[in-house]
Assembly symmetry: C2
Amino acid sequence: MAVSVSELLGSCPVPKSDYEQILLGHGSGGGLSAELIRKVFVPGFDNDVLSMLEDQATVSLEGTDSTRLAFTTDSFVVKPIFFPGGDIGKLAVCGTVNDLAVGGAKPMFLSAAFILEEGLALEDLKRIVASMRAACAEAGIKLVTGDTKVVDRGKGDQIFITTSGIGVVPRGRNLSIRNARPGDKILVSGTIGDHGIAIMSVREGIEFDTAMLSDCAPLASLSETMLNSVGSIHCMRDPTRGGVSSALNELAEASGVGVMLYEAALPVRAEVKGACEMLGLDPLYVANEGKLLAVVAAADADRLLAAMKGHPLGKNAAMIGEVTEKHRGRVIMKSLIGGERVVMMLAGEQLPRIC
Amino acid sequence: MAVSVSELLGSCPVPKSDYEQILLGHGSGGGLSAELIRKVFVPGFDNDVLSMLEDQATVSLEGTDSTRLAFTTDSFVVKPIFFPGGDIGKLAVCGTVNDLAVGGAKPMFLSAAFILEEGLALEDLKRIVASMRAACAEAGIKLVTGDTKVVDRGKGDQIFITTSGIGVVPRGRNLSIRNARPGDKILVSGTIGDHGIAIMSVREGIEFDTAMLSDCAPLASLSETMLNSVGSIHCMRDPTRGGVSSALNELAEASGVGVMLYEAALPVRAEVKGACEMLGLDPLYVANEGKLLAVVAAADADRLLAAMKGHPLGKNAAMIGEVTEKHRGRVIMKSLIGGERVVMMLAGEQLPRIC
């Protein structure tokens, strides 16, 4: 390469920010990610749908009988690519299905784009494809289009997968991160932190008495069950990167409400609690890949919880908190011993390449 | 990492193929790419839409007045990320818009997923976002959802972008790679090989008297003009990776027809011809990012050509061949001196990471 790109293109006047390079923390799903989205992507692409910052875009189609589509995309760069309870392929299907499901959409069509590193074992690719197919079948979504690129050895890391999904939002459903109201109850569909700790246990070589499995699962059936059981679910989110804390901080900010969590009510597996203590992690910040949070009118909360517990993916569901007038924009946790502390959004990077 | 992945997961019985690892050529858009799709992806995901192998999936939405959506995805790993005539951001928007456009769809919504390498200059990211925004505006598509992941230094290459697009296919349009019929004429919208040679010229440091610019452009307006000018366009393709030869070989196979090309009619810029001679390349195999091929009933070919020439992105359009009964499944070129030769699909890798 004899001609430098900057020579060819000249310099471009862009204002300097506090950091001048991308940091690992920009991919954390926490504060730095949020800052990158708010400072670069939203102003860069300035439009009303993107600015909503939901997990999925909901758009209407011209010329149809007001069909509302949900549309979402995610790249997956998890390391290692095979882990207890799943692999990058299953994760790539579930992640996108779940972003549709928590928007109240019925997942319909999936795309998958593969960036392969030269030298990836073909056998690994075939296993990943088989796993994606099984996950698509479980989620009731159809993979209809795809792409494959190959990068030279040392310019990628085995395999990256980007999935995009289209779902249809039934008439009358209007879930949004902006819809939480004081008095609403907050429910989680099961134990938190399982995915992140499963990944960390492989990376760090930690052994447990029982296997630490990722919770990676498609939540479309659970979310349908929930939406059919009560009419007052105001918002759902899947607490992936950045964990429950980041999802609830985004909710508190977007809805202009406070969130009060009860530490005693948080479902955390004993092994996850132990691993978090050993690794210096807080389960509230650890990623989940098969859990959802739901914000529901108080009057319907018990009924919704019962419906969740009746579903195989919701049997450990719990009511973990409520939406408050006080502390607008913040998440507060009432601790086991009765004290209160602010649960901040994850600032930097806790677990790189967790999904 | 103390526990090996294979120990955790056990071995998986997958039949061995001729190659056991992914090769750069699997990303070429030529024969090896086609083999990977046919041997791994299509059987892996076995379903009727994916098996069509169009540039975009066309799907119908349940419960709507038979709205037909086009859905497509592509990852972009071009190197360098800034090149004369464009950058990876513009390419990522145009590539997906063009896959919708050649399916006869009106591009509506775009998603963008970024895989950033730790250390990428924030200024570069901002320039790329600005360029994507401009391309979206030109193409009339709205970027509505996105994602960002960051990989550690040395595990990516600055920036990879995956875009997915949704378009609406107006009633009555039925373009397909399977619809070419003997007697149809084949038109190209302009000079071929410009994108690939622009990229190569930067990589190899070749200087030209005039700047070699990528043809990277969104073709939605051109395709609409064409589809509105005549009713008998049977198929359109954008000849990207693998060039005109791969696109026409796919067409010949899918439609079960022969293709006859006239070398004398192929529009190739003198600089591209010169660079190809110097680099040992054939313009028929070099990627384009702002050109389309159209297959049209003979009776309408002249009218379509005139419509294309009337559009800024089609002013160098030409009729370059025809669909034949003979040589089914093959592309034959009548050379300048009257001989005939078979134009094979690109077998291995000619220009890695061209898009």
